[in-house]
Symmetry: C2
Subunit: 296 residues, 2 copies
Amino acid sequence: MNEFYATERNEIASDWFVDLSTEICSTFEELELELPSSQQEDIKPGQFSYRKTTRKPEGDKETGGGLMAKMVAGKVFEKVGVNVSTVYGTLSPEMVKVLNKRKTIKKEQSSFWATGISVVTHLNNPRVPAVHFNTRMFATEQEVWFGGGMDLNPCLENTKETARFHKALKDICDKHDESYYLKFKEQADKYFYVPHRERARGVGGIFFDDLDSGHWEKDFAFVRDIGNTFLDVYPSIVSDLQEEEWTPEDKEKQLLHRGLYTEFNLIYDRGTKFGLVSKHDPEAVLMSLPPLAKWA
Amino acid sequence: MNEFYATERNEIASDWFVDLSTEICSTFEELELELPSSQQEDIKPGQFSYRKTTRKPEGDKETGGGLMAKMVAGKVFEKVGVNVSTVYGTLSPEMVKVLNKRKTIKKEQSSFWATGISVVTHLNNPRVPAVHFNTRMFATEQEVWFGGGMDLNPCLENTKETARFHKALKDICDKHDESYYLKFKEQADKYFYVPHRERARGVGGIFFDDLDSGHWEKDFAFVRDIGNTFLDVYPSIVSDLQEEEWTPEDKEKQLLHRGLYTEFNLIYDRGTKFGLVSKHDPEAVLMSLPPLAKWA
């Protein structure tokens, strides 16, 4: 590890993402313990299993990795993945291409360091919306910035819960900067769109790819608050909807919606692309894929 | 339709692909009538339903389309798609990028004309391999070439049937050119590979992306023979294996293998990419996706 990698700032950021992941996992396991099954019998409360993940070495140099927490076949969660990783090394041309928003990454062979968290849920009850949440810090030798987003993916409309999700995001954005919410909501609408289907993949949320106000502390405080908001709003939506009744037709819609979700993730998602071209552990990169999906 | 589009050669080629699709559909429907169910009860023989497909117009100009034949929930076939299409118009920069093998397509705004057939099967019985078959003719104002391929996708090894599939392809290649088989088999091994999983998606077959010997008649005869070989070998493999017994573990392996198949098709497949960037009917482009797939 050279000086660029091992800064106090990097350590603070990666520690935060690890702490957040621990909290998310324990909150989700509490939901499994507290909530009833959803029209299914004999399901034990789900528990996370953990596996270390490794990015492919560059020659003989290690390039970081992370921890993948996965819960499958729970009472509430059919599958959840919570990934944290801290990866570093040299930017390849393919990685630069995926990161093409940053003007300073023109030079290949630049060193990078990145840390982040990524959460994706797939629920048993089709009336409970799936969610995606991701925040990260990215550093090159020239710059440091944050990125992330959170979007709700119901397969059946629920105006009330959707409004609640958006309001929580608006409130936390407004606390930091009154220009954030509108901008980040619009970026989410643009990002979480499936062009070939000419439709949104879900009901959106916020997305920011390139946050660098010039004040690292300020930006990091915002990113932390986004994480706390996720912990605040999503488990609460899940609790409220877990006992909603659903039909086989609802389940069918859910499985088809997961097909759409898969299309987005594999064709368009930049996080997935970056994960694959940077040769991170494919199981971790693709942990977002649904446990079961249908195409008509 | 201008002179470039409406040549006799184009008509002969597109007629052939349509005739082949009709034969494939009737052969598959015969299998549904003749073969027993596979450890399932009360399944009626499957039948194809047909839908016209349309490429998105360029301004007010139509750009072609085709016919999608789809069978779902049959005795043998859980899902089969047989697509034929004839599309034309102006090459966009995105389309040129996907076709980057052809040196003469440097000029954007070039007219193109393409016709082809694409077949993908997903079986009820996990002991019967899925297959992908596709052949096409592509013309620009400067050139005409053929492309295509065929690969077998068993989720459980069956050395005998795999050998039979490869032998049928070798025999027909050898009939046309003794250099073809080795070359096209190697191209298939390279093409049908999933880099992020570091494995092949199936057991391969043949793949040729850019066949132009300078003799259109000769190349077209080869492409026709590949179509006839598909009709000859694949239904016969299906017949032989339909009565093989399978376990729930076999079904699980099949659903996971379909996950891998989905990853390949959405991340790497050039046909899928071209279909999407050329704005062909998304249902037709993505007809290859499995009826049901799993990710662990």
